[in-house]
């Protein structure tokens, strides 16, 4: 198990946990979906129809948390592209989701996203080893009513990685799930775990669940997709200003959502997704990256371990198209989240997740490789301590380059080789100066032209196309 940081004491985490349970028991959540209310009532919740609120007793919530699996597989198109979600897993990136713009951090340009850009994100994600899940983006060249269906098509056709199936409505979701069914042959196959997808269940802070959210959850459950529960609280906006207060509300929202999802389908895999933001009280702006948010993510990582559910956080930045600040925020966020033991981190999103950047994605992949190397530590044993080698060299040739000990351990202790960072001397650099962003751009081009994603079979592509056309026909006014 890799080492990870823990900032808070058990007592502090227990306080957050208990406060969340208190909120669910005494404050409850606002819900109006009749079917869900009946299910929850039958499972032990107290429903107050007049106030449109449902209250969750402590034991009901704790039973639900116990039902949610601690670890599960997120499937790719094939098993080779599966990854594990859990508490002690190899960290993965989930790419930007929902963005509307594409930033070119090398050329300092921006443009509205198209389906071709979504295909680009999918394609390069397929090549990047640390990407586990590819998020849906918002294309400007698709009909408003069916953009999410077009987005998913671009993903399905261009990557074998797991896909975050974001949707604008339960109606659209039905078409999206049909597309995945076309890939895997049957709904049954998807229910058995081969579905290449994960879903989303959103709460509107504070503590409100819409009817359509329930409808979507039922669809995800029916098709066997695990579901991320993003808590998009805004500190000082729709959540308490105090950091502990946001933890209490956010954790209550996560636990409440988990209880709802486990009632809909016991054993449904879920993530606690900390997508907190901070309201800048000076400007009214929303910050996705701040020291306070990082401290909160550390708490969420520990709360998730306490609840025994996987956690995911975000490395989305609020640095618009500023390359240098983006690199700083991305490095700090990725390194820190990896060291917190967060199994899945959102990334490549800029400008408060309004923009996607392929350069940012590639950089984050590299930074995660770097971070993982640190966490692999070094082996400490008699051979590697090298006391005999030290004796020979220190009293002999005084250099280790040609020592037998070096030859013997050169491969087992191979150094991290970065694709993007270099450590050449300044004179060599000035002879051929390149910047990090330039090298990243070159690597992007290499992936775009050199990496191949095996195409889906023709009949599958046709079926997907037919589904998109049917959606357009039914949904576009």
């Amino acid at each position: 198990m890799p080492p990870f940081y823990e900032m808070y004491t058990t007592e502090e985490i227990t306080k957050v946990y208990d406060a969340a349970l208190e909120v669910l028991d005494n404050v409850g959540m606002e819900m109006t979906h009749q079917g869900a209310l009946e299910m929850l009532s039958g499972a032990g919740a107290r429903v107050d129809a007049a106030k449109k609120r449902v209250y969750f007793p402590r034991d009901m919530v704790e039973k639900a948390l116990a039902l949610a699996p601690e670890e599960f597989t997120c499937s790719g198109r094939t098993e080779a592209f599966d990854y594990q979600a859990g508490l002690n897993v190899d960290a993965r990136i989930r790419t930007a989701s929902g963005a509307i713009d594409r930033f070119d951090l090398y050329r300092d340009t921006t443009a509205r996203l198209t389906c071709a850009d979504i295909a680009e994100q999918a394609h390069i994600s397929d090549a990047l080893g640390n990407v586990g899940c590819v998020g849906s983006l918002t294309p400007s060249d698709a009909p408003n009513e069916t953009y999410d269906i077009y987005s998913l098509r671009a993903l399905i056709e261009n990557t074998r990685k797991n896909l975050w199936v974001l949707t604008s409505s339960s109606v659209n979701l039905q078409y999206q799930l049909k597309m995945l069914e076309a890939v895997f042959g049957s709904k049954k196959a998807m229910q058995e775990g081969r579905n290449q997808g994960s879903g989303i269940f959103c709460v509107i802070s504070p503590l409100t669940i819409t009817d359509d959210e329930i409808e979507r959850a039922m669809l995800y459950a029916d098709y066997g997709l695990p579901v991320k529960v993003p808590i998009t609280t805004l500190m000082g906006g729709n959540a308490p200003y105090t950091m502990a207060g946001i933890l209490a509300q956010a954790t209550a929202e996560f636990m409440g959502c988990t209880t709802i999802l486990q009632t809909i389908k016991p054993g449904m895999p879920v993530w606690y997704y900390a997508l907190f933001q901070s309201l800048d009280m000076a400007t009214g702006g929303v910050q996705y990256t701040s020291a306070e948010l990082q401290a909160l993510f550390a708490a969420v990582a520990q709360v998730s371990r306490h609840c025994k559910t996987p956690v995911t956080t975000t490395c989305t930045t609020s640095s618009s198209c500023q390359a240098q600040q983006t690199i700083f925020n991305l490095t700090q966020g990725t390194l820190f989240n990896t060291m917190l033991g967060v199994g899945e981190q959102g990334g490549s999103g800029l400008d408060g997740n309004n923009a996607y950047s392929p350069h940012s994605l590639i950089l984050q992949n590299e930074i995660m490789d770097y971070s993982k190397r640190i966490l692999r530590k070094c082996d400490i044993n008699h051979a590697t301590l090298g006391v005999d080698a030290i004796a020979q060299v220190a009293m002999g040739k005084k250099e280790y380059v040609s020592a037998l000990h070096t030859m013997k351990h050169l491969r087992t202790e191979e150094r991290f080789r970065s694709k993007l960072f270099n450590y050449i001397g300044s004179k060599q650099w000035f002879d051929n100066p390149t910047t990090l962003m330039q090298r990243t751009d070159e690597y992007l081009e290499k992936l775009k032209t050199g990496h191949e994603v095996p195409p889906l079979e023709d009949h599958v592509l046709k079926e997907i196309d037919d589904i998109v056309k049917a959606a357009d026909k039914a949904l576009i006014k």
Binding site: T384, L385, I390, A391, E399, A403, F416, Y423
Partner: protein, 327 residues
Amino acid sequence: MRRNSHAGKALNGGFGAPLFTDDELEDIHLATLEVLENTGVFVEDPEAFEIFQGAGAIVDLDKKIVKLPPYMVEEAIQSAPSKLFLAGRDPKNDVILESNRVGFTTFGEGVKVRDPYTGELRSPTKQDVSNAAKLADAMDEVDVYERAVGAHEVPQAVGQLHNAEASFNNTSKHLFMGPFDGYQLEKIVEMATAISGSKEKLLERPLITFITCPVSPLKLVKDTCEVIMGAARSGMAVNILSMAMSGGSSPVTLAGTLVNHNAEVLSGIVLSQLTCKGAKVIYGSSTTAMDLRLATASVGSPECAMISGAVARLARYYALPSFVAGG
């Protein structure tokens, strides 16, 4: 409902990644003792050699090798203080180094400077030394100032005296610098004494910490010995900072590099404590991996980060203040 007061509350003051277990640290320590006892270190300075010999180390006069018995090493670790008070000219800049408190410093000594106005890469001047000190003085999060560059246009035999002058005049923070040799160390102590007003006042409020580096593998060269002994006698702290390169001047295995590094620093600490028991030391590191393709020291690599983390952990194991390479 009411919430009563706690009867007592344990608070978390920070966080740390558990890089090594206590058993792993002990393995490194024991391997280090074995190296110091059986392989020993090369000691170039005759006076230092005599100090080791007089204290009971096993010596080889012809090869200038000193072998340190384990008790000598462990006694030195014990007698070196765990807590250091570093004074600035302005008391608001005073700093305490202890336990796992984390602070930041500039690093040196750069041999080139990128001119901030022209972009030209050139040799640094005394004005650059002054400017760097002034910039560090203005940075809230920089706790102490290590002279970032050295003046290249001055006579190098007394170059550190010029650097000290430029630094003392432009920052009111505590100063870290390598004096190069015993002569310059003495002169810099005189400067600091003049600033403080007297030797006693300087001892009370030490304005400077000296830095010196063993030469890997396992050498305490003349200058290093002079600085360690001079610092001990003057009452100023010395940062004994090894700069091993894994695969080049230390074993390619990171564990072996930690042993080599540890042996070098601890041998310096022994000299310090034998010179003056209770002398102030810092356990320092700029050890990193050598890039075996480019033959460069890759500072900023993940291996450097791991080694720095390991060194900090080792220093805590010994209850000594630490100083590690950042980026």
